[in-house]
Each structure stands twice: as C-alpha cells, then as structure tokens.
Symmetry: C2
Subunit: 383 residues, 2 copies
C-alpha cells in the first residue's frame, strides 16, 4: 500500500495542463504517502504516477502574472478556461521541496497544504524519493509519540517549547530507562521541523521496529536563545548565540529532561547531533563536554577536516576517553572531502572514538541530506 | 510578569500610523503573553499597552490596494514613506482574532506569525482578554505534555494523528491511572486547534496546578473520517460523517488509548465533549453510549432544549444510571435560552445526571466561548 514512486532525477519539466489530465493525478490526500498534510478541502496540488505535480491557484481576475517559485526558481503559470492558474512541474530532485506562488510580485503560500517553517512559514511538497529513500515513509509499525513539552527558561526569561520523541514501548515498560539524543535544527528551521520536514519520528519508528536502532528518547530544542540587550547579527542570531544556547541547554534543558523522563543520565547514554547551525552547536558545545555526551553527529554543519584541533585538542586528551562516535555528513554537492578527511582524522587519533563519514548521493544542503544522515547515524548510537 | 492587558470591549478604532508610534508597541515576541508564536525575524505585528495592534505588510510597489480582513470585515491599509502598508487596529472583542491581508484581491497570510487552522490555514492574533480570562495565560506551573500520537485506521485506510495531553506528574507517578476526556474540535478546525487556538493545555495545567481539576488525559481527534465512495456534503463532511467517526472512535481510538496510556478504562472515568461539530458528535455518539461515558460537554453544538427526547429518551432509562454530567454552553450571542432550558431539562429528569448550563458573556460562536466553556467544564469532571 505504501508504494514509493520511483522518480529519476530528471530535469524539470514544465507544461500547461488540460482538464483531461485530471484522471492520472492522485488527490491531495494521496500525496506524500501520508507523511505531510493537506488542507482538507483542497483539490490541489496533485501528483501523478510519473511524479509530476499539478499546482493550481485561484487568483483574482485582475491578476496579470502568477509564478510558481520552487527551489528558488520561477516558473510562469497559465490560466485555463475556468480562470485558474495551472502548472505541471516535475522536481529534478527527490524529497522535500519548498515553494510558494507569486501573484503580481506578492508571495502567497499554497492554501492547499499545511505549511512548514523554512526561514519563515512556507508551503512544501514531497517529491517521490529513490527506492532507497523508503526509510522515511510511514509504515504500520508501533509509533512513538512526539510531545510538545514546555519549560520556563531563566536564561531568556521566556516559556520555551521543545519536542520530545519517546519510543513505542515507553508507555508500557514503565521501569525501563532510555538513552537520549539531543537533536538540533538549522538556522532556517525551528524546533518542530526535525519531525515535520525531517520526518525524524517516522525514521526512528521504522529503525526501531526493524531492530536496527536502540529505542531512545530524542529531544529537539529551538537553536535561538536571546538575552536582553543582545545585538542581532545575521540570520536572526544573537551575537551570543552559541553561549546563550549552551547556558540554557546545559543548565536547564538537560536537567529538565533527566527529571521529567526515564533517561539514563550519564554521558554513555547521551548523544548530541544537529544539522547546519545545529551541527555547529554540537561542535561548539557537545564536543567540548565529553563529560555529558559520548556520541556526536555533525550533519552539514560543524564539520572540520582537522578534528584534532577542536577545543584545544580535546579529542587527544583523557577527557575524551568515553566518547564512542564522531559522525560527520553532508550532501554530495556540499563538501564531501572535508567530511571524509574529518572522519579519517578522528580515526587517526587512535582513541576509542570512531570517526564515521557519510555523503548523501546527489543532494545539497537540504532535508534529503539530513534525513539520510539521521538514518545512517541512528543505528550507530548506544551500542 | 504575565500581566494581562485590560481591554475594554471598545469599538474598533482604525488609524494610520507614523513611525513615531513605534515606542509604545511591544515586539512580536511580547505578543499574546507567550501563548502563540511569531516568525522569529518578524518586526510585526506589534501590540501596545492599550491593546492596539499595529499590522504592517510589505507589498510590491505595484500594489494598488491592501486590506486587513479581520473578523470578516475589511479595513484599508495605507502606505507610509518607506512603502510599507500599515494599520493600527483595536479589536472590539477579547481573544482569538483570525485575519489576513488582501493584496489587490489576493488573500495573503501575515508572514510575521505562525498560522493556525480555521477553515484553512490562516493568521491569528490574540486580543487582550478580560481580567477574568487570565485562566488561559501560561504560568510557571508544572506543564503536561501534548503528544502527537499516530495510529492506522482500518475505517478510512489512513494513518491518522491525534493529540494526547498527559498531565504533569504522569511521568513520575508511573503506577497511577487517569481518567480520560475525549475532546473534539468544530467543523472549521482540525485536531491541533484545541491546544493551539484553544489553549486547552494551558487551561488544564493551570486548573490542575490550582487543584481545581482532576489530573486527566485529554484525547483530541480529527472529526473528519471518510470512507471510499462517500459523497461529500457541506463543510467537507462525508454524507456519513457521524457514523464514520463513531466507527473509528469506538472501535479504534478508545481501545488504542486504553492500550497505550494508563487510563481507568471504564465509563465512570471517561468523558466526551466538543465544540460545534464536536458537540454534535458528543450528542450523536457519546450520549448514546452511557456504557462508555458518564460525563458530557456540549459547547455551542449538540445543544438541545429537550434532552429527554435524545436517542429515544435514553436519559430516562436505566442505561443512563451512571451518567453524572450533561454540560451545555454557548456564547451570549448564540442561544443562551436553549442552553439554560436544556440544562434544566436534564435536571428535571431527576436522575443522577446533573444538567449544567453556561453562557459566555459577550461572545458568539468563537474560541473565547469555548475556552471559557472548557474552563467551566473541567472542574466538574471525575468528582
């Protein structure tokens, strides 16, 4: 039932549509193999067996130009006899594609889909993955819960939200304690996107059901922590972004998690990973604290080709003796050499920590890279 | 710190703004007393001490007309010297206000706020409540978690999502079992809105922290269940909307909850309530099944002035002997007489079930009515 459409990485094909094409398209409810959501009254976007999307927008009669802006490129839409603007589009890449319409210069999200957060609120569709990407499709296996968990932070003076994945079985095995992965998003996302755009809970459910990953708790916090008076630098970051996050994370988040959930509260059972900015946080904060963490994942962020130099050479010191894994990854179109050199650099130190490099075929700085990175990373943890 | 702004129910005041007005306005992060979320790079919307909102939209230079559409009414925005379109607006009512901009006829959500779902994806702001509305402001009390919980439904053949609130203490008191309230949204919302727009988790946290409500599990499902071949009638409902929901709810949801969570799985510890369409489901399904439920809440939906006639007079039969509460409510601008007559009708039957009517002062068919209804209803449950 959960068939994956095999979409070759074909060049984008754009064409206008005739009403007759309707027959071959699936309804929005059939989109994305149930991994994302549509507005329940929506008839569009649709997808067909060839992986082509049919986008439609109802602009007012006075509109002169409507574009589809997807992957940062613009494609002109055309009106049909009923006055709708249409475009059939085939993504050149598999996976998560953010998009919106542009009506006479004004960006407008697609009212047919539930938006996600990528540098702001935006629409997204899911282009069919390769056969090897089936790991992120929802299956009828036991599902963990993703919890919205609130705490009050003395660091920024606000109530803050984190998301906490607890694995299937957590509810019934009430005397069991679990290891914890702290997983951070990138500068474009917020704390909800590892499970929404990233499909992390589905990836975890599937790996745990197959016995490939240890049942674990996964904690996802927002990277952005502001103190009063902080100057804002690029990407809405405080000038003290890393130090602010470290203070909140170490002094408030970890104790909160260890007191609220059945964790094993030691460094052997605690991992930290992140994508992009989250990888930088992992490098800046996690690797400096091997008393807290023994497993690290740097996905398209915080990757260095000379890990021996990090934090005054901490990897060469006895402080690093418990560390088991430094995983580095990126997309093939990013910096694969740095990833491979970095992983080899960890192994060259000859310590207990194993360096592992992973390069996602054909992808760039994008969710498909990070979903695959997570899928490669999780089976290595807590073993 | 969590001060509530006292906003009288003043008439809407609209004016254009000059840049000097900036000083009196709070940043978006200060909006809504932390009960809703803004895009982290947003400078607008803002609110001032008088409860006035300052909306701003950056339309392209070619735009000829930009409107604020709020509460279903349009207000013309005006350009300033920097080319932004501005409007200062004071809501005539407290609470949740949905809105969007209309740029030359095209509806556009406000990129400054995280949208909610009200008959589709829309922007919303929170107008300052009355002093008596402070019950829905987040406080530094122990917080329950709101879990995204997935299951596979054989009724509609889809993976479905529900949200499950577990109270503070649920994690530590692992041998304790809890009563369950099943809480349904209205035709305009989805399963996420009782906790997002409705602030149900905050209301629960505050009442439980004060000892006014019993710690309970609250389960929120999507009202809409489709079977293949169903004809769609108004509001995107299947022609079999109530029967479809009943089949999924009784055969799949309740057993799933009783098997996954530490419930007390009997009718004395199970309640059902809902707003609007969710109240109709409660009346159609819940009241028919006193073997499953003993506590009912009908908020602006399913309210009848002759409860003795429901389900062939079931309230007068021995089947209803365990039922303890039939709560009916609406806004003062809806049908208060029906609510009061309905509650009196329950009491006139002389059974164990108590009829309680509640009318929300000054409100209509809107979230402020349902937040207040929930706040009045919860302390009556499971006691």
């Amino acid at each position: 039932m959960k068939r994956i459409l095999l979409a070759a990485c074909a060049l984008a094909v754009c064409m206008t549509v005739s009403a007759q094409k309707d027959g071959g398209f699936l309804s929005p409810q059939g989109l994305w193999e149930k991994t994302a959501q549509t507005h329940r009254r929506a008839d569009f976007p649709k997808i067909n067996e060839e992986g082509e999307f049919w986008f439609r927008f109802a602009a007012p009669p006075t509109a002169e130009e409507v574009l589809l802006r997807i992957n940062g490129k613009d494609y002109a839409m055309r009106t049909d006899s009923e006055g709708f603007w249409n475009l059939v589009f085939k993504s050149e890449k598999p996976g998560f594609r953010e998009y919106h319409f542009v009506v006479d210069g004004t960006p407008v999200n697609d009212p047919g889909v539930i938006p996600v957060y990528v540098n702001g609120v935006t629409s997204a569709v899911e282009a069919p993955g390769l056969a090897s990407d089936a790991f992120y499709l929802m299956r009828d296996v036991p599902h963990g819960d993703v919890r919205e968990h609130w705490f009050h932070s003395g660091v920024d003076g606000n109530f803050r939200r984190m998301f906490v994945y607890t694995p299937a079985g957590y509810e019934s095995e009430t005397s069991r304690r679990y290891p914890v992965l702290y997983l951070q998003h990138g500068a474009g996302e917020d704390e909800s996107e590892w499970t929404h755009s990233g499909l992390a809970a589905i990836i975890l459910d599937n790996l745990i059901a197959e016995g490939k990953a240890e049942p674990m708790i996964v904690v996802m916090n927002n990277d952005f922590v502001y103190k009063k008076g902080d100057r804002i630098i690029r990407l809405a970051l405080s000038e003290n972004w890393s130090a602010n996050f470290e203070e909140m994370f170490v002094n408030e988040v970890i104790p909160d998690i260890d007191s609220h959930y059945r964790t094993v509260p030691d460094n052997a059972h605690r991992a930290m990973a992140g994508l992009s900015l989250g990888g930088m946080l992992t490098s800046n904060i996690g690797i400096k604290r091997p008393d807290l963490f023994s497993w690290f994942g740097l996905f398209s962020g915080g990757v260095t080709d000379d890990p021996a130099k990090l934090h005054d050479g901490i990897m060469k010191t006895p402080a690093f003796k418990d560390v088991r894994l430094v995983f580095m990854s990126c997309g093939e179109l990013e910096y694969p050499e740095r990833v491979n050199k970095g992983a080899a650099g960890v192994n060259a130190l000859g310590g207990r920590a194993k360096g592992v490099g992973y390069v996602s075929p054909g992808t760039a700085h994008e969710w498909q890279t990070w979903r695959r990175s997570l899928y490669e990373f999780l089976p290595l943890l807590f073993k």
